[in-house]
């Protein structure tokens, strides 16, 4: 149900909250926390630690209310990337204990263990990065960066680039529709589509280029280049005790993990 205008405005008047303790964690603190977990996962020698960390990421995603989509993305990553990495390492790394002889490429226990370790470690890193972007919107990240003095031009370029990629998809669809509407076949295999798309590439590109200039002018019309202090509609929550605590715990975890690794506890 859509809210009334008054309700929407009231929401913006309140300090910005995303309605969830996890989502409200300051982006920088979130970076610290996720990095710490990744370090802990990687410092250990085996594959159990990174697996636990990966599962923890999923749990955090659910706590943040983004569990479903995160799980979907991460499972696709595991299948597409993780599985391939595992198979490659398992087959190619040489070991002693042969489990399945396949001629020159034998599957060894060491190979499997190496494969597990490598692939799960990589997936842990991917999981962490994916989690970050699932929880912290680019918008909030840019806002946080601007708060500490990063130029609005940088944040514009980054945010606009992401949007441009989304727009490209829409533009491609319009272009193909226009071609179809002229009687040019654009349905079927890749070659048919390419043939329909190819002649239009240059004009589409040129239009995008001139559109960029128009966008710059439109931005200027919104006083983008106005010197002097800019204010912000979004009242980004400032650093809180929760954030400090999180960073402290993260630091402690890293220290303990590194020490543990050095001392051979893992």
């Amino acid at each position: 149900m859509t809210s009334t205008l008054a309700a929407v405005a009231a929401r913006y008047r309140r300090p910005m909250t995303l309605g969830n303790a996890v989502l409200d964690i300051h982006p920088t603190a979130m970076v610290a926390g996720i990095t710490a977990l990744i370090v802990v996962g990687l410092v250990s020698a085996g594959w159990v630690a990174p697996l636990v960390v990966s599962v923890l990421f999923v749990v955090i995603a659910f706590l943040a209310g983004r569990g479903r989509s995160y799980l979907g993305t991460i499972l696709k990553l595991w299948l597409a990337v993780g599985l391939i990495l595992f198979v490659l390492r398992a087959l190619l790394v040489k070991g002693q204990t042969v489990l399945v002889p396949l001629g020159p490429i034998a599957i060894t226990r060491e190979g499997i263990q190496d494969g597990l370790r490598f692939s799960i470690a990589v997936m842990a890193i991917c999981g962490g990065v994916t989690l970050f972007f699932a929880i912290v919107s680019m918008r909030r990240l840019m806002l946080a960066l601007e708060r500490i003095g990063v130029s609005p031009r940088v944040s514009y370029v980054i945010l606009a680039s992401f949007q441009a990629i989304t727009d490209l998809g829409a533009t491609a669809r319009v272009v193909l529709d226009a071609q179809k509407a002229r009687g040019i076949e654009a349905e079927g295999n890749v070659f048919v589509r390419a043939r329909a798309f190819f002649p239009v590439l240059a004009p589409v590109f040129l239009t995008a280029m001139s559109a960029t200039e128009e966008r710059a002018i439109a931005l200027d019309a919104r006083a983008f280049n106005n010197p002097g202090r800019h204010t912000s509609l979004l009242d980004l929550k400032t650093w809180t005790g929760v954030d400090t605590a999180l960073v402290a715990v993260a630091a402690a975890m890293v220290a303990a993990a590194v020490a543990g690794g050095v001392l051979g506890w893992f």
Binding site: V174, V175, D177, A178, Q179, K180, A181, R182, G183, I184, E185, A186, E187, G188, P199, V200, A202, P203, T207
Partner: protein
């Protein structure tokens, strides 16, 4: 060779319903204007006619045969669609190549290509611009280039999306002349437009849409006569017609000439 929509509906992937239960029949050489507010479903309806959109309910038939098994491009060769923004459809380096693109793509004989291209160029009055890059032409002329590029196919139906936007008096005259000749050839013209002057000057049949359905479909005088239809589809009479009504001069007057005849 009529085009028929039988109880068609279209729902977007996100679940929002654009149109529901629309039935229409357009016969050879007919001229139909589809009017209504933005969001009423006009564009969705015509996109179902040329299969740019596939109905989620109901069927679209051309000459009695369902279009369900045909690809969009195939249907498009029967049902031409000129987009509102010509720049969405033009891409060649010069006007001639633009017009000849489809004939070459379909491997037509030189003679057939010559014939169809000349006809299209003549209908749209772009003879002087054949070697120019469409991007260097004024937008009104680009519109006609886009129309020519669509007319070159052997389409029996042409859909024009807001054809009068940005046209000057000369362009309007050209457009009216083109519509007359298309009628002589038996080509049906369907237009989506907000320009009521254009509607009453050139289209006998008006389809008024609102909220994804057809509110009225009939002779333009009947549609514009009915206050209830106008209210529900939120369209207005052209100024002269409204004047005639407000002044008590006549309720069926529609065009400027109609009103001139009524003023003492």
């Amino acid at each position: 060779m009529p085009i028929e929509l039988h109880g068609v509906g279209f729902t977007y992937p996100d679940g929002s319903r654009a149109i529901d239960d629309v039935s229409l029949r357009v016969a050879d050489g007919e001229r139909v204007a589809i009017v209504g507010q933005n969001g009423a479903g006009k564009t969705t309806t015509v996109k179902l006619m040329n299969r740019l959109l596939i109905p989620t309910k109901g069927d679209v038939l051309i000459d009695g045969a369902s279009t369900a098994k045909r690809t969009t491009a195939e249907v498009a060769r029967d049902v031409g669609y000129v987009f509102q923004n010509p720049d969405d459809q033009l891409f060649a380096a010069d006007v001639r190549s633009e017009i000849e693109y489809l004939p070459k793509y379909l491997h037509w004989s030189d003679q057939k290509r010559e014939e169809r291209c000349s006809r299209a160029i003549e209908l749209t009055g772009i003879q002087d611009h054949l070697d120019t890059n469409p991007k260097d032409l004024p937008s009104a002329v680009r519109k006609f280039v886009a129309i020519a590029a669509v007319l070159v196919s052997e389409c029996r139906y042409v859909i024009l999306d807001e054809p009068t936007a940005g046209l000057d008096s000369r362009g309007l005259a050209l457009l009216h002349g083109m519509l007359d000749r298309l009628r002589d050839e038996g080509v049906a013209v369907i237009t989506i437009t907000h320009d009521m002057r254009f509607v009453v000057d050139a289209f006998e049949r008006v389809v008024a849409m609102a909220d994804g359905g057809v509110i009225a479909d009939g002779d333009r005088r009947d549609v514009f006569l009915d206050d209830d239809i106008l209210r529900r589809s939120r369209i207005r009479r052209p100024d002269a017609a409204q004047l005639a009504r407000d002044l008590g001069l006549g309720r069926r007057a529609l065009t400027v000439d109609d009103v001139v005849a009524l003023v003492p």
